[in-house]
Symmetry: C2
Subunit: 142 residues, 2 copies
DNA sequence: ATCGATGCAAAATTTTTGCACCATG
DNA sequence: CATGGTGCAAAAATTTTGCATCGAT
């Protein structure tokens, strides 16, 4: 049994929401799969109704437990940093594979600095990088 | 007449695509509005069919002329850096306003470095920051 | 026992597609 | 004048909603 599940259950109780089947299942699916699209999520929870999955996802997003990721023309969901290591994504323009880009303290501090200069208090951020992966670089000649 | 429009026309010709009404109108709408959702874009081009707007947006995205931005549960389109200054976005969790965060050379170089270490050749990136703006910070006590 | 959450069915919205016709290069 | 692009209409896919019932606290 995942320790993250315990944490999730606590978070739900603290925010005064019931701990129900769809909620546990959606959370577990994301825990096991890193990122999932809405359609995949619906498929991953066949015992529950589509509408419940949508409502669950909306709730978890409001609570900051999951967040949305843009993957080209579509989007996916993943658990927030409270449940996963903080990381970003790098997707290859050529082969479409997505790689994790782990958090970088220097980078994040620079970012915090830059926003603070403008009077902002940064709480969260997303960073997506596109380019060519190791394997695909030689294939393109310019 | 915007100089960017000229550039856009050249880009279209070079990629062997016709320069048509829907394409010019979609481009101009984004030039004048910074970011627009799909629905807003359709509304901004009432003389053209919804399907054409969709097809135009898909084409411009493939050509790298525009790109998608995630704004909470919805998304918006904006022109790429070739037509706008390179910048990111910072949205306030409290009042919802969105601010431009201009590009930061130091930050970008760090990022390029970090990805290069992993064998990637970075071509593009998006950065979204959430937090509290100047005006909203005092309102929240923790 | 009480609300909050769910399932179901239906509506609303968003996106995609096929095809005949038109217009750009 | 040859394609590539468009409008129109329809289908497909995605997301939202109302309501009766169920179940977690």
């Amino acid at each position: 049994m995942y320790p993250q599940l315990k944490k999730f259950e606590t978070a739900m109780k603290q925010s005064k929401h019931h701990l129900t089947g769809p909620r546990k299942t959606v959370f577990s699916a994301l825990l096991e799969n890193d990122t999932l699209s809405m359609a995949e999520l619906v498929r991953a929870c066949p015992e529950f109704d589509r509408a419940s999955i949508y409502r669950t996802v909306q709730l978890l997003e409001e609570l900051g437990i999951i967040h949305r990721l843009q993957m080209g023309w579509k989007y996916q969901w993943e658990l927030s940093d409270d449940y996963h290591d903080h990381h970003h994504h790098m997707s290859c323009d050529r082969c479409g594979r997505v790689f994790r880009l782990s958090g970088n303290k220097v980078l994040e501090n620079k970012l915090r600095e830059a926003t603070a200069t403008l009077g902002f208090q940064m709480r969260n951020h997303q960073l997506e990088v596109q380019g060519l992966c190791d394997r695909c670089q030689p294939k393109i000649k310019t």
